[in-house]
Amino acid sequence: MRAFLDNLRLALGTFLGNPLRSLLTLLGIVIGVATVITMMGLIEGLRVKVNNDLGRMGAHTFQVTKWPAGGFGRINWAKFAKRKDFEMPDSRAIEESCPSVGTVVPTDDEGGQKLATASSETRPSVRVFGTPANYPLVSGVSVQAGRYFNEVEALDGRYVVLLGTDVSDALFPGMNPVGHEVRIKGRPFRVIGLLQKRGSMLGMFSLDNQVMIPLSVFHQLYGKKRSLDISVQAKSPELFSKAQDEVASLMRRRRDVPANMPNDFELHTNESVTASFNQLSQVITIAGVGVCLLSLVVGGIGILNIMLVSVMERTREIGVRKALGARKRRILGQFATEAVLLSLMGGALGLGLGFGLVFLGNWMMGFPMQVPPWAVGLALFMSCGVGLLFGIYPAARAAKLDPVEAMRAD
């Protein structure tokens, strides 16, 4: 322990005696660690965000759709287009013949819409959702002011609308929109509610640039020849997978899917959607660790180089220390400690830089970056390891020096 403290003091002295050279040497490790922290921060931030965003689907709820959601890689859209649409009778059939199912909520939506008032209008980027009255039960949508439309309004096909905060800000800046009138496709709607702000999905598209109208009205506006997304909530969490099985076999029967063929529709759960993202983020994580390892190796060669120079410069000192009774292991320890401390400092600087970049990314670009604690541990552990790995050879060379020869060096 005392030997370790002495070594630490010596190593610190060397570092402080030559700060510029030490810093330049450390650049490789600094960059390596900063890279891994930034990348991990980005990936972890996205992962958390995705889980939050998609988690808004509601508890023990899944969705039956014609189209696959998200997914990465090439998607054969033509193949999916040939699938049969989901229509209201499908939704009613699930409600009637699946005993484990609690709530069934068919919805439809259309993007790229424009809303207007007498004095202003939105950009043509608003997504219009048609839903039944019980939609808030199965979704993350909640009402901030006013109320959701009720059963009667939904069935009657009243022209009522709830605005997302982006839409409200565009049309009624600084005002409560409830009670005002807006136009969608030229038809007048009465605003009955303002939705709770939900933020953006993956920091890219806003979940607040949307409005909700009754499904029957949606069909009047956009036609009925479309496929519904059917959200299904199981009666209880325990019945979740049973409900999925019931719905899947019911749909296969209704759509005449032969027994040996796969489903011609999609079942999405929070898990299935997030799983595909998590898979991608894993690939990026591994790639990131690879990049980091590579730059740490480069950094390690820097350490190797500087330690060899250091041993050469201090040959005389090593000779004196050995003459005065330092054993091999002690000299080895001294130089290994120096190398590890050096690269740990690089690691710490890299952490600082990485966190700085993450902060900048958050602040300037609104990326939802978040550094997982294990990445900090990993970065420090790896820089420590690099110091040890690349420092041990120069240290061993120092330890092996003959004191008489070494003291003769200049």
């Binding site: 030997a3 002495d6 004196v320 003459a323 005065l324 009774g325 054993r327």
Partner: protein, 250 residues
């Protein structure tokens, strides 16, 4: 520390040889050297360059091991020890004083003097106290926070002597201690050696200077790897060949 232990000579060298292999050729630096040194003696080892005195110094200092023969130091046979075992012997038994001082340039005088204690595992507090006391012995307590480049040559050598004394070794081994000093400063150092001798320290001084060897009560002259004279310092240093009779120790 171990100064008073055991009977018999502190150093017993028996028929030591040291052979180097340089480019396929055999160089016999020491060809069967035997002598003894008792506790409290002050002995000069003198010889021309190439006489084998540097090799002798390295062997006596446990920086090198003999090719054959036996070297007993303070009751221990050190002639076949491993590098690490020798490091411990050097730390405990020997205080080195080098011609070029061999102080660590970036450390203060105090830290330089503490160094042997660092490798003995002495606590920082005790190290400091003992190093301060050693610097006081060489009248350098007031300069202990200075680095070597802020000290004069004589002061540097006194720091080195303090470093040799601090671990209370059984012998002080000095290699041309006045070689890098002007004559006045050299005289200062020799007087310090005289004081240390009077205080009971065992001193071995390796030099090529007859004037310095003449100040020692006893001198051993090496030539061509063999002892050619061993006796009274002044007589041996002046180099008359008639003193060969004492060669070979007891």
């Amino acid at each position: 520390m171990s100064q008073a232990s055991g009977a018999g000579p502190l150093i017993q060298v028996e028929n030591i040889t040291r052979v180097f292999h340089v480019g396929g050729e055999e160089v016999r630096a020491l060809r069967g050297v035997s002598f003894g040194i008792n506790r409290g003696e002050w002995v000069a080892i003198i010889g021309q360059s190439g006489s084998g005195k540097s090799t002798m110094m390295n062997v006596l200092g446990c920086l090198d091991t003999p090719s054959s023969g036996r070297y007993m130091l303070n009751g221990k046979d050190v002639s076949r020890m491993s590098d690490d075992e020798l490091a411990v012997i050097r730390n405990v038994e020997i205080g080195f004083i080098f011609q070029t001082f061999q102080l660590l340039p970036k450390e203060t005088a105090l830290a330089n003097v503490e160094l042997p204690l660092v490798y003995r595992g002495v606590s920082a507090k005790e190290r400091r106290a003992r190093a301060t006391a050693a610097l006081e012995k060489v009248q350098l307590a007031h300069r202990m926070h200075h680095r070597p480049n802020e000290l004069s040559g004589g002061q540097r050598q006194r720091v080195a002597i303090a470093r040799a004394l601090v671990s209370e070794p059984s012998m002080l081994l000095a290699d041309e201690p006045t070689g890098n000093l002007d004559s006045a400063t050299g005289e200062e150092i020799v007087r310090l050696f005289e004081q240390l001798h009077k205080a009971g320290h065992t001193l071995v001084l390796v030099t090529h200077e007859p004037k310095l060897a003449a100040r020692c009560p006893r001198a051993i002259r090496l030539s061509d790897g063999e002892i050619v004279a061993d006796g009274d310092g002044r007589t041996v240093a002046m180099g008359t060949a008639s003193d060969v009779l004492n060669a070979g120790g007891a």
